[in-house]
């Protein structure tokens, strides 16, 4: 229930302000020779205080000096991201408005068939990855991913993912298929509900971002068993990747930007430059490393293909699991 209500939250103030300001700056941006000369709006489907919202609001003071112009965050919630996608897809492609990408917009596009989908947006650049990890209760009997899989093979595993249509669910389904384990994959309406069921032992394991379970990790209530990515994490150097444990599965939760179709080349090059500088910025590096984000710069050309590949893989997964036809 929480998740569906969360998607109804809106922020009138910022919307009214942002649409007004964005409208006024379109003309200015066209007239100016260098980009960006006015307000650049980053539209997020996240509600104020949500994951993407906090990420962008923290990042903007550091990104601002590298890009120039005036960056603001606008929360367009509703329809699990469909509204935010539609807002940006209909905007003028002059670099004044972008959508903050996460895997959510691909899932919503595929599941709900909204009028504007990920295909109506042009991926700009990627900035970061959020590593996904598999964790278990501190007092559980599982010592590593192998023991979890072994348990699922001999009996029945109980694995939890925060949301039914999510990267986390996809990761678990892939592990299940790759290992031939017999596991029930239980989905919730957000990470909190699932976390409780890992803590109280209803679930063998849960999957999520490190940041979501930081407090529980510090308090030693949870243990991380494996990273579902290509590399180990700096924060948890002893935790192996799933591949090292013999499970050939790796997923990336990406955080980047996409704009309306036909972005001008000067906008793209300005962002590619700023994005690389941002990721290398020593001040910001301290912050994002503390938040367990991995730098994941992807240039425009490759990002278009990256998103396309991701969408195709996801569509295949959704069809295989019978969610969409």
């Amino acid at each position: 229930m929480a998740e569906r209500l969360i998607s109804q939250w809106i922020s009138f103030g910022s919307i009214a302000l942002a649409t007004g300001m964005a409208g006024a700056t379109v003309a200015a941006a066209n007239a100016a020779e260098t980009y960006p000369s006015g307000v650049v709006t980053v539209v997020t489907h996240s509600s104020p205080g949500g994951g993407s919202d906090v990420f962008w609001r923290e990042m903007i003071p550091h990104l601002q000096p590298h890009l120039g112009g005036k960056l603001i965050v606008q929360n367009v919630t509703g329809g699990s991201g469909a509204k935010a996608v539609a807002t940006v897809a209909d905007a003028t492609p002059d670099g004044s408005m972008f959508y903050a990408t996460t895997p959510t917009y691909i899932y919503t596009s595929l599941l709900a068939n909204p009028t504007k989908t990920y295909k109506d947006l042009e991926p700009l650049v990627n900035l970061f990855y959020d590593p996904e990890v598999i964790y278990t209760a501190a007092n559980s009997k599982f010592s590593d991913l192998k023991s979890v899989i072994a348990e699922a093979k001999s009996g029945r595993g109980k694995w939890g993912a925060a949301n039914p249509a999510s990267l986390e669910r996809e990761a678990l389904e892939e592990i299940k298929a790759a290992t031939g384990a017999n596991a029930s994959i239980v989905t919730f309406e957000g990470g909190g509900d699932m976390l409780l069921n890992v803590l109280n032992g209803s679930l063998d394991i849960g999957v999520g971002e490190v940041e979501e379970i930081r407090s529980q990790l510090d308090a030693k209530k949870l243990r991380v068993l494996a990273v579902i990515g290509d590399n180990r994490l700096d924060l948890l150097p002893d935790v192996p990747t799933a591949k090292e444990e013999g499970v050939d599965v790796s997923v990336v939760k990406f955080r980047g930007l996409a704009g309306p179709k036909n972005l001008p080349p000067e906008v793209i090059s300005a962002w590619e430059k700023a994005a690389q500088e941002l990721v290398a910025d020593p001040d910001y590096k301290k912050i994002y490393e503390a938040n367990n984000l991995q730098p994941g710069y992807i240039a425009h050309d490759r990002y278009v293909k990256f998103i396309d590949d991701f969408a195709q893989k996801t569509e295949g997964f959704l069809k295989e699991s019978g969610v969409v036809k």
Binding site: M1, W9, N113, P114, Q216
Partner: protein, 497 residues
Amino acid sequence: MDLSYLTQLLLTTPVVPAAFGGIVWGILGGALPGISPSISMALLLPFTYGMHPSAAVVLLGATYFGAEYGGSIPAILIRTPGTNSAAATLIDGYAMNQQGRAGEALGISLMSGIVGGTVGLVMLVALTEPLSQVALAFRPSSYFALGILGLSVIASLAGDSLLKGLMAGVLGLMIATIGSDPVTGGGRFIFGNADLLSGIPPIIVMVGLYAVTELITDRGTGVQERADQSKARIVFPNAAMWKRIAMPQAIGSVVGLVEGCTPGAGGTVAAFLAYSEARRWSRRKEEFGHGSPEGVAAPEAANTATSKTALIPMLSLGIPGSNSAAILLGGFLIQGLIPGPMLFVQHANIVFDLYVGLAVSIVALLIVGYLIMPPCIWLVNRPKPYLSAAIYALVLSGAYAIGNSLFQVSLVLAFGALGFVMKYLRMPVLPMVLGVVLGFMVESNFRRALVLSGGDLTAFVHDPISAGLLSVSALFILSSAVGRFRKRASVSGKVTT
């Protein structure tokens, strides 16, 4: 945390203004039907970035409290629930208003809010650690059983016809199935409309069924008639009234405590459960629905208690007990504080400041709530045509604000028309509202529990909480069925003799 720290906190940091500011803003936001407690808080979030950390979290906490109370004002005065949970207060609150007892209803609502808030805060301060275990004890099967307990009330609330009550309840459950499938994530009954992907918000249904239906029904009344004759004065409960509402307030506080501790249920479920439990245990059951002060006291105590107890799992486990608590969690994150087991170790002073601020906010609610009442009552005593036009504007703009789309506006009007038809058919709307509020919780947790158990239905018996709640529900349904049967037997007996 000695006395000098406390004085210093109250005098040198902006905690007191934050508590008062949060209460004022919360009451305003709560009173507007499009702005839920969580939205009221979310709107403040951007302003908390540069704020003193303690003041920021107190501001948000006080807003939550104020908004949970504020929702009851339009519910009592103009039959428009300002928040989801206020729809429970509305039933008897508006009935009291129609009897010219608006001031009394508002007084009971305010005092019950103070009582609920105080009990909730005491529990939060004294018992956070043990109560966080309640959250851990609840499994999907337990949530399912809790939802069933809520729905079992339909049997006793159905009014003159059990059949009509059940029909309305099922209709509500059907509405709750619109949106994303809780297990597969695919869209259900959304017809390619992205607005429906996250389901129909309960507030849309409630505002439609209550406020719009009333406006449609009202269109026939003459211009000369006054909306009501309520005096523009808030009436605080006297000793006799306190005695009467003590029990429902206690019921409300306990229900609010449990609902706050268990993430996912929230203030709305608490308010409706408290309403029905208060009715169940009341000596004057027949007054419920016709202006019972107990029917105002119980849900108000429950939802304001929830506004405090929802912070228990949020602070101790980092898991918010409601949507609004999730926004408060966002407020903590903005300040660089991570709620969860380590918060009490690393930032005990912030937690202490929050507790102090929440205590101040209870005093603030008493003062602001008292001062805000006369203008509110004066406003609704304006000539009917102006009042009706203003309510239409409030309801429709509120509906638009919920999703920034005209689609929600047409939904509200459609539910208003449905409510009118139901009124004509003498079909009770409360079961339908309960179905909408509880439907998703019941369905998703039922299916989740079955996925977890591998399809084994005995999971609901093996979980002691689920087994207990389900047996209680069965008992209630049975006793209400027997009661109905006896009543009918005695009525037909009278006819024959």
